[in-house]
Amino acid sequence: MAAAAAAPGPDALLRTAAGDAELTDRLLAPLWSRARAWWIAFAVTGAGTLLFGIAIAYTVIAGIGVWGNNIPVAWAYAITNFVWWIGIGHAGTFISAFLLLLQQRWRASVNRIAEAMTLFALVQAALFPVLHLGRPWFAYWLIPYPATMEVWPQFRSALPWDFAAILTYFTVSLLFWYAGLVPDLAAARDRAPTRARRLVYGLFALGWRGAARHWQEYRIAYGLLAGLATPLVISVHSIVSMDFATSQLPGWHSTIFPPYFVAGALYSGFAMVVTLLVPLRRIFHLEDVITTRHLDSIGKMMLAMGWMLIYAYVVEAFLAWYRGDVFERYALLVSRPTGPYAWIYWIMLACNCITPQLLWSRRLRTSPLVLLAAALLIQVGMWTERFIIIVTSLNRDFLPSSWHIYAPTWVDWSLLAGSVSFFLLLFLLFLRFVPFIPIGEVKHLRHELAQEEVAWRGEQ
């Protein structure tokens, strides 16, 4: 890829900007803009966030009976949303840390956005497990704190580990994001038009002066954090999958869950990156920074993840048949494809298995609109996948006498819509106040590319 990156082509766009200063100015421009579109978007997502708040308040005050959950379907939308958001939160760190360690330079212009996406998705994800508790005010009992009653969480349960994993992941992601942000905050400070902004950016820039020593230590810290974050990409969703896999419910009780969940998480995460990048690229005219090569690479990742998922689906169904367990056979081979939620199941398969096949074509893969459409379908598909895993396994388990349908209420829908709004709202704020393209890294990459080109020409 390194060779490809150096080749002249669409990447040359990276080099069109006149100079470093101009590039910096361009990339910081959104911070000082007063676009009306932003305010409209802010109002819309703000309203959605308000709805989120109302739904949360109603849930906490009245109890989760205001949701559609029941016995047997004790988990439904909240956990579906939780797993979905956690999954989305995977791509950010994967792009930033994993690809950094693998020295994939194409990550440079998209990693900040992906990291922010991770953080905001984790904020949404973290809300749901707390909200879904019968008594959310006791959520802290999941933490192994030294209580005077000497009661500890139960470590055989997946949930305290889940809690710990998410907390760790969030902390490291935040640090990683912030560490990468420091040079750019300094750049913002230096170019801020007002004194107040200079002060605020200056505060968060932690006195960064761009000295060589700063850069040296920054590089070390950033690399270390990347090393720390990378295994978390694998661990978080593996542990989330344990919430299901350690149970004995047909449809949950499966050893394939950890890799299956990680693949699914990256799949939806990349889809969300595309969902955010494509409009952003268009609105802020960043085609020369977020190039079609970026889109191409992300498309390939999605295709790969899609196939991993298809493999998992096939293995799951095959093993359900092969194992010969009546309950599992029924859950996976009868209930899902023909049961009351069959239509959701088929939507899931269509979105998750057929959509990625479009991405075999390079032309389609590099077409922003096609990619965006595919990404949206995959988001829907991944949400329905979590719904199918959770709800169809619960609604028809061992004893038919307790089988019952689940139907969401307006509160369930409000929480889903509200969390999407809140996510977008946070993202809008991020666009408005934080340099969303890593300016330092882009400039760095530009110089590298220029040098490589000189070397390449020299060889010619």
């Binding site: 109890g63 029941n70 004790a74 008594r135 149970s247 004995q248 009546v326």
Partner: protein, 1104 residues
């Protein structure tokens, strides 16, 4: 000041000896002090005996003196300081500074009393905590209970505390005092009394067996010879008495002994759950149905019925037949038996057999008899078995059948030599009151009198005729013609709203009284609590009408029994009666009766006669209260049983398993108790068979216009496999319109279609589908076991051939870890015999009452959020036309390797050393992971705050030994851990070990068939030990390795080989649908759940 000082000195000088004074005011004889202390007294002493009005007057601060003002100010300041920001409690408290002799705070006490229903009593033991009854249990010494208690009995505690009970008497709209009632109705000189001879005075009350009421009625008749009395109960019928009068020349009550019957034939008779004495019947029947070993025998049950009942569900051979054709079945059975050589009884006319054959032929020609193979097979099986077991069989007929069917049943019992063995006859317990009241006025006659203005004052005592009288009588408008109407009722119901005077009645747990059981055994109803409201019992009202205002009912009752106790010392007798709950030696007098065979032959001749005579003979009798003795009017067109036209439907009105005839409609426990077969809650519906539904293009939840003889009702449809085709079953008791908020608007009022000439079933119903749908709430949306080994069943023959057929479903399971060593101390375990379970639901209500389980309402049930810790799963087996039914009580299995425990992140569900899976409510944060991982789905979650805003009286109904759960926590069956611990504490205090069988769970106690048995694995009683050794033992979902502590004993049926040959092949019929499709709106309206794989025809080993 000086003057005051002198006063003190003077006053003190006058004090002699050790006189105490509380305040200077008292010493001085200050009138202000007297007033102030009078004001305080009501707060301290309570209002015992005083007139509330005068109390209120005393409490009004009229003129405040300066001293009072200062005192009040001082008190206010002091209270403000002491109370801080807390509101001082307004309730009176009862600190036991001197504890009453027989009360241990925190300890429960049990008192014997009896529960009256439609005149018959069930003996109870009622648990009482500090003077408030909390739980009803059966009285083991009472013949109608034998320790069991049904759902109505169990739920009666909730009715006692129902906050919507009427509280004060009223006259028209205004409140009125009981004293005013007495002034108006008691005879002179106390009150106004009635016209000479009581002309124009009429009483309407339920049939009663109470000796006290009978004596009061007798005295009333003596005082007012021209007063009229009507007994009315909507579910009772005059037909049984008509039959005995016809056949034996006098009313007689059959007494059945199911414990010795080898063959039972139930003709439209739900004797296991729907008749008076059913608890006893179920107990005796089940005693012959639990095969202790493969070698032991079982009785065989044949049932012919239209609507599915628990009796039909557990029958070995069930014939689906419309109620109108039961007569044909009975006649055919009689003809079949009389055909046998030498069958003709002594004294019978020689042509009896011929008469029976003619009647059979006539009914066949008229299409009233079953003409298909199923009926023929069933009949020949019954006949074969009855002839095989002379003197050891019972033919029993349901109350709603016409007298001719009852008469044939009596004849059959006589013919088979059962009389004197399995069937005895006694004087009816209701006879005493009937005789005392004089010639009864049937309800239609009463209505005529009302319309004619012949009734001046009508007393309606604990009946609700405006709601439940036949619709053609239009009781409400007739009631408007009466000058004075008086209603005595627990609630301000429909009748109360139409009456001038209303007096709240006393709940049976609040009053003195007596009642007889079906077999005549008398019990004293003793109150458990002082009346909560200003109510009077029916006996009180009768006593008031007699001017016995000085005497308490208690004294009247003792007076009656003093006379009956004979010369023996009365006090020990009385104490014994109260303590035992059943008065020995009061069984009804036995009758030695021989059937008048000539009368039977004449009856058969009428059946065989022309159309008109046949119709008259076969029309079901009117309810009790109608004229049973004389010939009744010609039925309208449609009353004639005839060959069904394509769209001809028959409508049957059935007793509701939850609300009875409507009187329990305001009881939320009962409303939420699922029907045994349909599993419907909070509604009734027009129940039809799948074939009929398919023919009419109906599905569950579809609204239809149900018509009968020009009357109409919009009803939702429910499809139930196993119901007779062409039959619409409609439960009575819903669609209430009184002031009862729980009952109001729940279901639809079937009484609107019920007329006095066809009160139980009627042909000619029409059913017209309407476009709308109606949401029904069922607790079980799926019907089959989906081919899974859940309820294992086998026939007795199969069981004998392979006694170890449940072996794959018990024993050790391969596991990675060794099981935890549960060997020390008591290890609690339960064994449930599925052969004995009749699905009646008594255990469900018992559990709810014992464990303070909340109700969730119809919406909650529709969302599958019911809170029952114990549910009864009902599965259909075989085809939808001729399904078998398996009931399975399902509760926490207390798995030794509980899947719920290891997934709880906060250790809120843990295991006790004695093998209980425990739930720590205050540690639970409500992740619900435990429920997800529970393969039995027996955990219940408090989705909302179900216990918020509980009425004060309902708080009194709570069992103080069990936590009332908060919102957001999980709960489930605890094996009644509070009972275990109570027994353990008692044993520890007495320094002994627990006795085997000492701890009984609430469900075990309630179960009339003793299907549920509980105890310690390490020190079991005889029965538990036997069950644990039983080869039928297995664990549900055994292969999961959860090691449940609840053991099930496989369900064994006992079909005859002869019958099997003739019975229709189970696989031949329509396939079972997956469920009623009322499981709630699917996510965005997807189609109803598709059918899971159908079980095969064989029922062996749960069709695994």
């Amino acid at each position: 000041m000086g003057g005051a000082g002198e006063d003190w000195a003077g006053a003190l000088a006058r004090v002699e000896g050790r006189a105490y004074w509380r305040a200077v005011g008292e010493l001085l004889g200050d009138p202000a002090f007297a007033l102030a202390s009078a004001r305080e007294r009501p707060l301290l002493d309570g209002d015992d005996g005083g007139d509330p009005a005068s109390h209120a007057a005393a409490l009004v601060p009229g003129g405040l003196s300066r001293r009072d003002f200062l005192r009040l100010m001082g008190a206010s300041l002091a209270l403000a300081g002491a109370g801080g920001c807390l509101e001082p409690p307004r309730e009176r408290i009862l600190p036991y500074t001197r504890r009453p002799q027989d009360v241990t705070p925190g300890g429960a006490r049990w008192y014997a009393t009896a529960f009256p229903l439609d005149g018959y009593g069930t003996g109870l033991l009622v648990e009482s905590h500090e003077g408030r009854p909390t739980k009803v249990e059966g009285n083991p010494l009472h013949p109608a209970s034998l320790g069991a208690a049904g759902a109505y009995e169990q739920a009666s505690v909730l009715q006692l505390y129902d906050p919507q009970r009427a509280r004060t008497p009223r006259r028209t709209r205004g409140a009125a005092a009981w004293a005013a009632f007495v002034r108006e109705f008691a005879p002179a000189p106390v009150g106004g009394g009635f016209a000479a001879g009581g002309a124009g005075l009429h009483l309407l009350l339920e049939p009663t067996s109470s000796p006290l009421t009978a004596s009061l009625l007798g005295r009333l008749r003596a005082a007012y010879p021209r007063a009229g009395v009507t007994f009315y109960a909507p579910l009772a019928s005059a037909a049984p008495d008509d039959a005995t009068r016809l056949l034996f020349g006098r009313p007689a009550q059959p007494q059945y002994d199911f414990s010795t019957a080898a063959v039972v034939v139930a003709l439209d008779a739900d004797f296991l759950s729907g008749m008076p004495f059913h608890l006893r019947y179920a107990h005796d029947w089940a005693a012959r149905r639990r095969p202790a070993s493969p070698g032991s025998g079982m009785s065989r049950l044949y049932a012919a019925e239209g609507a599915f009942t628990p009796t039909g569900a557990v029958a070995d051979h069930r014939l689906r037949v419309r109620p109108s054709r039961i007569a044909g079945v009975a006649v055919a059975l009689l003809a079949e038996l009389l055909r046998e050589p030498g069958a003709l009884p002594a004294g019978a006319p020689a042509d009896l057999a011929a008469a029976a054959a003619r009647a059979r032929a006539a009914l066949d020609a008229g299409g009233a008899a079953q003409d298909d193979a199923a009926a023929r097979g069933w009949l020949s099986g019954v006949a074969h078995d009855l002839l095989r077991t002379p003197g050891r069989s019972i033919v029993i007929v349901g109350e709603r059948q016409p007298a001719v069917v009852h008469a044939i049943a009596h004849a059959l019992n006589a013919l088979l030599g059962n009389v004197g063995r399995t069937v005895r006859y006694t004087v009816p317990p209701l006879a005493e009151a009937l005789e005392a009241a004089g010639p009864p006025v049937p309800l239609p006659a009463l209505v005529e009198r009302l319309r004619a203005g012949a009734v001046d004052t009508l007393f309606i005592l604990e009946a609700n005729p405006v709601y439940d009288a036949p619709a053609d009588l239009d009781f409400r408008s007739a009631l408007g013609r009466v000058r004075r109407s008086v209603c005595l009722g627990l609630y301000e119901n429909e009748t109360a709203a139409a009456c001038d005077w209303f007096v709240p009645t006393l709940h049976y747990l609040e009053r003195w009284g007596d009642v007889r059981a079906w077999d005549g055994t008398a019990s004293v109803i003793q109150p458990l609590i002082r009346p909560l409201y200003d109510g009077r019992s029916a006996d009180d009202v009768l006593a008031a009408l007699l001017g016995l205002t000085g005497a308490r009912t208690y004294d009247l009752l003792r007076e009656i029994w003093r006379k009956r106790a004979g010369p023996a010392d009365f006090e020990p007798f009385w104490e014994d009666a109260l303590r035992r709950g059943a008065i020995a030696g009061t069984e009804a007098a036995p009758l030695d009766l021989r059937p008048a065979w000539g009368a039977l032959a004449a009856l058969l001749a009428r059946v065989a006669g022309d159309r008109r005579a046949r119709a008259a003979a076969l029309t079901p009798g009117p309810p009790v209260g109608s004229d049973g003795t004389t010939g009744r009017g010609e039925p309208e067109d449609g009353g004639e049983p005839r060959a069904p036209a394509a769209a001809d439907l028959e409508l049957v009105f059935v007793r509701d398993a939850s609300v009875y005839d409507g009187r329990f409609a305001n009881n939320a426990w009962l409303q939420e108790l699922p029907d045994p077969l349909t599993k419907l809650t909070w509604d009734n519906a027009a129940v039809v068979s799948p074939r009929t539904a398919a023919r009419l293009g109906l599905e569950a939840g579809r609204l239809v216009r149900l018509g009968l003889r020009g009357r109409e009702l919009i009803a939702p449809v429910f499809v139930l496999p196993g119901q007779a085709d062409g039959l619409v079953a409609l439960a009575l008791g819903y669609g209430r319109e009184g002031a009862e908020a729980v009952a109001r608007g729940v279901g639809l009022n079937a009484y609107r279609l019920r007329t006095s000439d066809a009160p139980y079933f009627a042909a000619g119903a029409t059913l017209e589908p309407l476009p709308g749908r109606y949401p029904l709430a069922t607790t079980q949306a799926h019907w089959t076991m989906a081919g899974r080994p859940i309820v294992l069943s086998a026939t007795l023959a199969e069981y004998r051939a392979d006694p170890e057929f449940t072996a794959p479903h018990r024993g050790p399971v391969t596991a990675l870890y060794d099981p935890f060593g549960y060997e020390r101390g008591d290890q609690w375990t339960m064994a449930i015999d599925l052969t004995a379970c009749i699905g009646c639901g008594a255990c469900v209500v018992a559990c709810q009452a014992e464990n303070n389980s909340p109700v969730v309402g119809k919406e909650g049930v529709r969302k599958s959020r019911e809170m029952h810790w114990l549910r009864i799963d009902r599965y259909f087996l075989g085809s939808a036309d001729e399904p078998g039914v398996a009931f399975q009580p399902m509760l926490c299995q207390h798995c030794e390797k509980a899947p719920c425990e290891y997934v709880c992140p906060v250790n809120a569900t843990v295991h006790s050393p004695d093998g209980l899976n425990e739930m720590v409510y205050n540690r639970c944060i409500g992740t619900r992971f435990c429920s997800n991982n529970c393969p039995y789905k027996v955990r219940r979650f408090n989705w909302l705050d179900y216990n918020a805003d509980k009425a004060e009286t309902l708080e009194m109904a709570m069992n103080p030994d069990v936590t009332v759960r908060a919102r957001g926590v999980m709960e489930k069956c605890t094996f009644c851990v509070q009972r275990i611990r109570r027994a353990q504490q008692a044993a520890a205090v007495e320094g002994r070990a627990l006795r085997p069988g000492e701890v009984r769970t609430a469900c075990q106690q309630a179960c009339p068939t003793q299907a549920i048995w509980f105890g310690s694995d390490t020190a079991p009683d005889e029965e538990l030990a036997r069950r644990l050794r039983d080869p039928r033992r297995y664990a549900v979902l055994h292969e999961l390795g959860t090691r449940p502590r609840v053991h099930y004993l496989a369900r064994i049926t006992n079909p005859s080989d002869a019958g099997e040959a003739a019975a229709p092949a189970p696989a031949g019929g329509q396939p079972l649908p997956a469920g009623p499709g009322s499981a709630g709106p699917g996510s965005a309206g997807q189609p109803p759940p598709s059918p899971p794989p159908r079980p095969g025809a064989g029922q062996r080993a749960g069709e695994a």
